[in-house]
Amino acid sequence: MPDPTITLEIFRYHPEQNETPSFRRYEIPYREDWVVLDAINYIKDHIDGTLAYRWSCRMGVCGSCGMMINGTPRLSCAAFLREYYPNPVRVEPLANFPVERDLVIALDDFMHKLREVNPWLIRAHEQPLSDGEYRQTPDEVAAYKQYSMCINCMLCYAACPVYALEPRFLGPAAIALAQRYNLDSRDQGRSQREAVLSSEDGIWDCTLVGECTVACPEHVDPAGAIQRAKLASTIDWYKRVLMPWGGR
C-alpha cells in the first residue's frame, strides 16, 4: 500500500502579484501525529517556499498561528490532521481581517484597540517597592485570572459576527483584557477604562452571540467578560442617575 497522503487547499494571495486570491492544492504525506502547522511547514520546506504565514512556539501559547481551518478559527499548532483525514483540509487567513499576504493578516486594528483599553495596572497611589508586594488572596487572583489568559491569537475576532459587520467594535479580546484589570483587586483604574468600554463601539455593540467564547483556545470566555462589563456599567449608570447622592 502506498504511504497515505492528505491534501491541503491553501488560500494564496500576494498583493504584488495577484489581483484576487486563489486556492492552491498541495498533496503531502499524512502523519497521524501532525498538526496542520506541521503540514504547512512541510509544504514551505519541501514544495513551495513562497507560502507566507506566521508561527513560533508550536505549543499553543505564542498566539501567532491562528488560521481558518475548514471554516473554523483555530490555532494551526493545535489542530490535528487526523481530525480531517482522509478529507482535504482547507486553510485560509483568519476571517474579518485585512490580508497582508497568503495566511498573514494585518493586526494593526487590534494593536490599536489593545492600547485604547489601558491594559495596565492603574493605582491612585503607588506603594514603594521596598514595602513589598500588594497583598492578593488566591480568591482575589481567581476573580480575574481567567481573563488574564488571553494570548491575543485573534480567533475571537475571526469568530465574532459583530466585528465582521462593524470593524470599529472594540471586540472580545480587548474587552476581556479591560475586564482583567477592572477585576484585579490591585487596580483602581476602572473609571479610566469606562469611557472606551461603554462608548458606542464598546460593550453595547455585542449582541451576545457567544462565538468568541467557543473559539477561544484558552477558555478566557470573552462573552462572559463582556456581560459582566455590561452589568457593572449598568449599575454605575443607575447609581449615577437614580442615586446622585450615593457616593462615588
Binding site: P15, E16, A52, C57, P119, L129, R135, Q136, Y144, L177
Partner: protein, 581 residues
C-alpha cells in the same frame, strides 16, 4: 534608503529582557525616546513559552547567600561571582516590580507571594503564576510598556546588521516585513535582547524564532561570543515535538523512572531517593546532571524505545488531580494534546531536549559589550550568572535584572548625545540593502534550499555538540559547518518578492545560525575539560588550572579565534558539586 529613523536608544527584541530594558530606559530619563525593533509582535516572543517560574529571595527562611551559593555551584564555578551577587541582590526588587505592574503571581492564603521548589535550589524561592509564568510575565511587561508614549515599536522588523562607525555602535539595519524595504534606524545606543539560538539544533524546546540573530550580529561587529560551548539540555521534553514539560512538575513532587519503574537518578550521585520531595536531590538536581544520567540509562538499555528516540517516564500521578489542575494545568494540557495521555492517570514520556544557551554576547555587569554603544541582556547575552549550567527559574529573573541594568546604562550613554555619522551610516545601510538584494532577491542561480541546509546544520550540531562530546565528533561537526558555510551562497529562494517574504527571513536566520553554530562547536573543541553541560568523554574531569576561564570566540573569515578570560571568584572558591546529600 532616503529615510533615517532616529532614536536615542534602539532595543532589538521585544521579549522580557527587551521590554524591561525599554521601560527602564524611559523611566531613567523620560526625555529619551526608545524604539523596540522586533521580528515578531512582542507578545509572540519566546519568553511566552517559559513555564515554571522566576527565582528571587523573598521568604524569611531564605537568604541572598543561599541563592548565590546555589547559582554558583549550579554553574560549576564558571559564573562570575560579582555578577551573581548583583543578580541575587536585585532579583526580589525586580519581581516585586512585576507584581506592582500586575503580574498574576500565585499566592499564599494570606495574600503574600507563593514560592515553589526548583532544581538545584536548596531553598524554595521560585515565584510562579501556575505554570505559564513566562506568558504572564511577557504580557504584563508588554501591556505595561504601552503606557509609555516615549516607547515606539517597530513590530515585525527584522534586524540584519549593526552599524558601527567611529568605533561606536550607532544603529541597525532592519527589514520591514510588511513592505520588504530595508531601513536604517540610527541611535546613540543599541541593546540586543534577541534571545537564544536553540534552533541550531533539531530537537529543542525553542520556538521557531530562536535563531541567534543578535548573537550573530554582535559577533559580526567584532564582539566576542562568550562560553558558547555550554548548551543546556532540559531533561523533560516531549519526544518528537520537543515541547517543554516544566521542571515545576518535579518541583511539585513528580518523579523520573526508567522502563523498570526505577528512580534511576539515585545511581548517578543524586540519591538517596527518600525522603521525597527533597531539595537539591534526585529529580530536583540540576539539569545538566539529570540529562547526563538519561544518556547513561539509555546506554544500559533501561529506557523505553519510541518512534522519536528513547524516553523515560515523568510520573506525577501521585500528586492527584486537584494539585495537577492548580499547580501545573499547562503540563496536563500539553501532555494531553501533544502526547495523547492524561498525566492524572498515566506517566508522561520525556527525554532531554536542547533548551537554553548559557553563552552569548560578552557583556559586563551593566550589560555593556566591549563595543561602545552596544549592550545585550537576557539569553542573547552572557553576563555570566549561569556559567556552565543554568539553574531553572534564574533565566526569567536574569531578563529582568539585566534588562533593567542595560536599559539604565544605555540611557546614561544616550543622554550624552554623542554625534552621529549620518552619511557614513547611510552608506553602510545602502551596502547592506544591496547585499541582501544581490544575495537573495535578485539572484536566480544556485540550487540549495534553505530548509535542506538548515537540516544538515542541525543534524551536525546534534551529532557533534550534544550532551557528550569528543574531539573526533567535534572536528567532524566543525568541518560540516564550514562546508555548509561554503554552500550557503548557492541558496536560491523560491520567493523573490518583497512583501512578507518569510523565505528570505529564514535564509538570513540560517546565515546567522551558521555563525552561532560555529562558535559553539569551536568553543567546545577548544575546551579540553568537562564542566557542567560541557562533557568531553576524552577529557572527563574539570580542570580548574587551565579552564577556570570564560571562552571568548571572535569571528574571522576562517574558523573562530578562541581566547580566554579569567572567571571572577570572590567568596566562593571552586569546590565539588554535591547533590543528594
Amino acid at each position: 534608503m532616503n529615510e533615517i529613523s532616529e532614536h536615542d536608544i534602539i532595543v532589538v527584541g521585544g521579549g522580557a529582557a527587551g521590554l524591561r530594558a525599554a521601560i527602564a530606559a524611559v523611566q531613567a530619563d523620560p526625555r529619551l525616546d526608545v524604539a523596540i525593533v522586533s521580528k515578531v509582535y512582542p507578545m509572540r516572543s519566546h519568553t511566552v513559552s517559559a513555564e515554571g517560574g522566576a527565582a528571587a529571595v523573598i521568604k524569611p527562611n531564605d537568604s541572598l547567600d543561599e541563592h548565590i551559593n546555589d547559582t554558583i555551584s549550579g554553574s560549576d564555578w564558571l559564573a562570575d561571582q560579582d555578577v551573581v551577587e548583583a543578580f541575587v541582590r536585585e532579583a526580589p526588587h525586580e519581581l516585586i516590580q512585576l507584581e506592582h505592574w500586575g503580574c498574576p503571581w500565585s499566592r499564599e492564603p494570606d495574600g503574600s507571594i507563593a514560592v515553589r521548589p526548583f532544581g538545584g535550589m536548596k531553598i524554595e524561592r521560585t515565584w510562579f503564576a501556575a505554570d505559564k509564568v513566562g506568558f504572564h510575565l511577557l504580557h504584563t511587561l508588554f501591556q505595561t510598556s504601552l503606557k509609555f508614549e516615549t516607547i515606539k515599536r517597530y513590530d515585525e522588523w527584522y534586524g540584519t546588521k549593526l552599524l558601527v562607525e567611529n568605533g561606536r555602535c550607532q544603529g541597525i539595519v532592519a527589514i520591514e516585513l510588511r513592505s520588504g524595504q530595508v531601513r536604517l534606524l540610527a541611535a546613540n545606543a543599541v541593546i540586543l535582547c534577541t534571545g537564544g539560538a536553540g534552533r541550531i539544533y533539531p530537537f529543542t524546546t525553542n520556538g521557531a524564532i530562536k535563531t541567534g540573530d543578535g548573537m550573530a550580529m554582535a559577533y559580526r561587529a567584532g564582539v566576542p561570543l562568550k562560553d558558547m560551548e555550554f548548551v543546556q539540555y532540559h531533561p523533560t521534553g516531549l519526544p518528537g515535538t520537543g515541547i517543554l514539560i516544566t521542571e515545576a512538575a518535579r518541583g511539585e513532587g513528580g518523579i523520573l523512572v526508567n522502563k523498570d519503574g526505577y528512580r534511576y537518578l539515585q545511581d548517578y550521585g543524586l540519591g538517596p531517593p527518600e525522603p521525597w520531595p527533597r531539595l537539591r536531590a534526585m529529580e530536583l538536581g540540576p539539569r545538566d546532571k539529570l540529562s547526563q544520567a538519561f544518556v547513561h540509562e539509555t546506554r544500559k538499555g533501561r529506557t523505553f524505545a519510541g518512534p522519536y528516540g528513547d524516553y523515560v517516564h515523568l510520573d506525577v500521578r501521585h500528586l492527584g488531580e486537584e494539585k495537577i489542575n492548580t499547580k501545573i494545568p499547562f503540563v496536563r494540557e500539553l501532555a494531553h494534546r501533544y502526547a495523547g495521555i492524561d498525566p492524572v492517570h498515566e506517566p508522561i514520556p520525556v527525554r532531554p531536549v536542547v533548551h537554553y544557551m548559557m553563552g552569548g554576547v560578552h557583556t559586563d555587569v551593566s550589560g555593556a559589550t566591549p563595543l561602545p554603544g552596544l549592550y545585550a541582556a537576557g539569553e542573547a547575552a552572557c553576563v555570566s550568572i549561569n556559567g556552565a549550567n543554568r539553574l531553572g527559574s534564574n533565566s526569567l529573573t536574569e531578563c529582568l535584572v539585566f534588562g533593567a541594568r542595560a536599559g539604565r546604562h544605555a540611557a546614561a550613554l544616550a543622554a550624552q548625545h554623542p554625534p552621529r555619522d549620518r552619511a557614513a551610516l547611510a552608506a553602510q545601510a545602502r551596502d547592506e540593502a544591496s547585499r541582501i538584494a544581490a544575495t537573495f532577491i535578485r539572484k536566480d542561480t544556485g540550487a540549495e534550499r534553505v530548509a535542506a541546509l538548515r537540516a544538515e546544520m542541525t543534524r551536525a550540531m546534534e551529532e557533534g555538540t550534544g550532551i557528550y562530546r569528543d574531539e573526533a565528533s567535534l572536528r567532524k561537526t566543525c568541518d560540516v559547518l564550514r562546508e555548509l558555510r561554503d554552500r550557503f551562497p548557492s541558496i536560491r529562494l523560491d520567493d523573490r518578492s518583497l512583501s512578507f517574504n518569510t523565505e528570505l527571513i529564514a535564509a538570513l536566520e540560517l546565515d546567522f545560525m551558521l555563525d552561532v553554530a560555529e562558535a559553539v562547536a569551536h568553543s567546545a573543541l577548544a575546551r579540553t575539560e568537562s564542566r557542567g553541560s560541557h562533557q568531553r568523554t576524552d577529557h572527563p574531569r574539570r580542570d580548574d588550572t587551565r579552564f577556570l576561564k570564560h571562552t571568548l570566540a571572535y569571528r574571522t573569515d576562517a574558523a573562530p579565534r578562541i581566547d580566554y578570560l579569567d572567571v571572577v571568584i570572590t567568596r566562593w572558591p571552586p569546590a565539588e558539586r554535591v547533590y543528594g546529600r
